[in-house]
């Protein structure tokens, strides 16, 4: 059993950093839930609406954007017990001097932490002051105090809210940076062609990046966020393409011939991908400019969808159909020490967690005649091959990808009736839909 995948069934099997929450559902089915790096006790946090600090007419609109964004970021973080606004005292503070500690640190809000502040526009600029108070520590309450100045636009205010949220999450989340400023890259068909798009981590600011006019797939952002690799079909076939965010245009990348698909960045900027340049699709690596090509697999495959261990860069997981239905394998980054990690069904689209410990992937575990089967997302501890199921009875789910903080997973799901981008916490909870226009697939989360 040590070499085959097995479900996590008992607490004794839990990997050290794997937190299990056993949830009994109405259907009497036990769903095992897991999260990474989550505390058992969530910090109880209240986020009071920010107050206007000037009399500018645009304040109302900007405040709504700011307050909605901040609340959403703190709610999405997955580490807070966010106190409902209906429990808040009538007098919400805009300044430290206005904080009534007793009203906040005792029921009904009974919060430990309070975020509050003010926002004011003047002469086209907006100033935001924000604080985080430990309201149970009246003598020395301030955890955080920040001031931001930018143009008085909704976009700028949204960015300020993300920055402030990330400061709070960093302070209260064990020193792990928040993701409110991260980006998600994906494929959208909304123009009639599959092109690469990007959006904020919460679904805002969806914008088109490529205009290839053909079929573009598998966007993968570089660790530093400066370059986007993807694959696109042209007259000669599928080739790896490269977009530069420094230059805001396509930059050249070698064409290898045959089918070249599914690029993946290592932490130090190498690229693994599937190439049929020598016949069957196999896994190759190249450096960031496409040179120093190295062949890692040599079989009929097809081998596709490599993903690097994002922490060490020393291992690669990938999909191979060498034994029939596709299974997930791992190997060293030089192609040695090949190990099969799934033992049945149809397993595809692996993605390695930022801490190097987990794979998430899409698995139709009991595929076959008479097995209805659906593509669900799973999480596997790489060392022990123990796994848990993250999605249940919710359409076809594919292309899971970890957030930079390892607390979230973005994925593609057909649960709404069309393929859309969704996020959830890494324990399968807090599921949110990010896209709805056209069909949207293959999300890829930035590294920071």
């Amino acid at each position: 059993m040590s070499n085959s995948a097995r479900p996590i069934r008992h607490h004794a099997l839990i990997a050290v950093a794997l937190l299990l929450l056993l949830t009994t559902t109405g259907s009497a089915q036990d769903w095992i839930r897991t999260g990474t790096g989550l505390g058992v006790e969530r910090v109880r946090l209240a986020a009071s609406d920010f107050k206007p600090s000037t009399t500018d007419a645009s304040n109302t609109d900007l405040l709504k954007t700011f307050n909605d964004t901040l609340w959403s970021d703190l709610d999405n973080a997955g580490i807070f017990d966010l106190v409902s606004k209906s429990f808040y005292p009538l007098q919400e503070p805009g300044q430290p001097s206005e904080v009534n500690f007793t009203a906040w640190n005792s029921p009904p809000p009974n919060t430990s932490m309070l975020a509050f502040g003010n926002l004011g526009a003047a002469a086209g600029k907006v100033t935001v002051q924000g604080w985080l108070y430990d309201v149970k520590n009246e003598k020395s309450p301030q955890v955080l105090g920040k001031q931001y100045v930018d143009n008085a636009t909704n976009d700028a205010v949204r960015v300020i809210a993300h920055k402030f949220a990330d400061e709070i999450i960093f302070r209260l989340g064990g020193g792990v940076a928040g993701i409110a400023e991260s980006k998600i890259y994906f494929v959208s068909e909304r123009t009639g062609h599959k092109e690469i798009w990007m959006m904020d981590y919460d679904g805002a600011n969806q914008q088109q990046i490529t205009h290839m006019g053909s079929i573009s797939l598998s966007p993968r952002i570089s660790p530093d966020g400066s370059r986007l690799a993807f694959s696109s079909i042209n007259k000669g076939g599928w080739e790896i393409m490269m977009y530069s965010f420094d230059l805001n245009r396509m930059v050249s990348f070698p064409r290898f011939g045959g089918m070249n698909l599914s690029p993946s960045w290592s932490p130090d900027g190498k690229i693994a991908f599937s190439s049929s340049r020598n016949g069957y699709p196999n896994i190759f690596t190249v450096d960031a400019s496409g040179g120093k090509s190295l062949r890692l697999t040599n079989d009929q495959g097809p081998d596709v969808s490599p993903t690097w261990n994002r922490k060490t860069g020393a291992q690669i997981a990938f999909v191979s159909g060498r034994t029939g239905l596709p299974q997930i394998y791992t190997m060293e980054a030089d192609g040695t020490n090949l190990q099969r990690v799934t033992d049945q069904g149809y397993a595809v689209s692996p993605n390695w967690s930022p801490n190097g410990q987990f794979l998430t992937f899409s698995w139709m575990r009991k595929y076959g005649p008479g097995e209805p089967g659906s593509n669900d997302l799973y999480l596997m501890d790489v060392a022990s091959k123990q796994w848990v199921q993250l999605t249940h009875d919710a359409g076809r789910n594919d292309f899971p990808c970890w957030s930079p903080d390892g607390r979230h997973i973005v994925f593609q799901s057909h649960r709404s009736g069309s393929d859309q981008i969704w996020t959830m916490l890494a324990d399968g909870t807090n599921v949110k839909q990010l896209t709805s226009k056209g069909a949207n697939t293959q999300p890829n989360w930035s590294w920071k």
Binding site: P302, G321, F399
Partner: protein, 247 residues
Amino acid sequence: MAITTMTIARWGALVFALGTIMFLGACAKKVAPPPPPPPPAPTAPTASLSANPNTLDKGQSTTLTWQTTNATDVSIDGIGAVDTSGSRQVTPSDSITYHLIAKGAGGTQDATARVTVNAPPPPPPPPPSVTEEELFAQNVKDIYFDYDKYDVRADQQGSLQGDAQFLQQHPNIHITIEGYADERGSTEYNLALGTNRADAVKNALIQAGIGGDRIKTISYGKEKPFCTESNESCWQQNRRGRFVYEK
């Protein structure tokens, strides 16, 4: 009218009778010694020539038959001297008139026989409206695959042999084999699977003697389905190696 005709006939008979009397009278007047009897005149030759059959297709033979009398020297143009009578097989490549000359003491006689050679039946030319590309579309069959498989299954071998035969008969045609997959499963894996399917068809054609330089491959995975319903008959339509004419 009847009376007039009778009158002319009576006058004609009279003129003939008078003429005869005058001629006989003249001969009787000049009596000359009889000339020496001439040597017996040699009989003139006769000749006939025939061809059977006299109409044939190119490459076929016909039999020339000839007969002569009173000839000592018989020849046929293009064949040369022959017996005074006989037959011979000939295989003319074009329509021809055989000319026989029979010479004898009594003179020369010739005979001819015409042989018509039909041009070979032209290879049935494709009606001018049917292009090579249309023939390709009519004759070449796509290859279908099982779920998650890329080997050419037994029931597709007939199509594959037919395709290879067509490509052998049309050596100028270049093709692209497009690999397709059904909607089930993942985008990236299906593209890789489609690559293997296209390559499987290409390799089978190469084995059947088609030059690999005439065949390109490309995979569309499940990106361009032929059929968009979610059932097996539709999925089967989408699991294929498609032949595309490239000239």
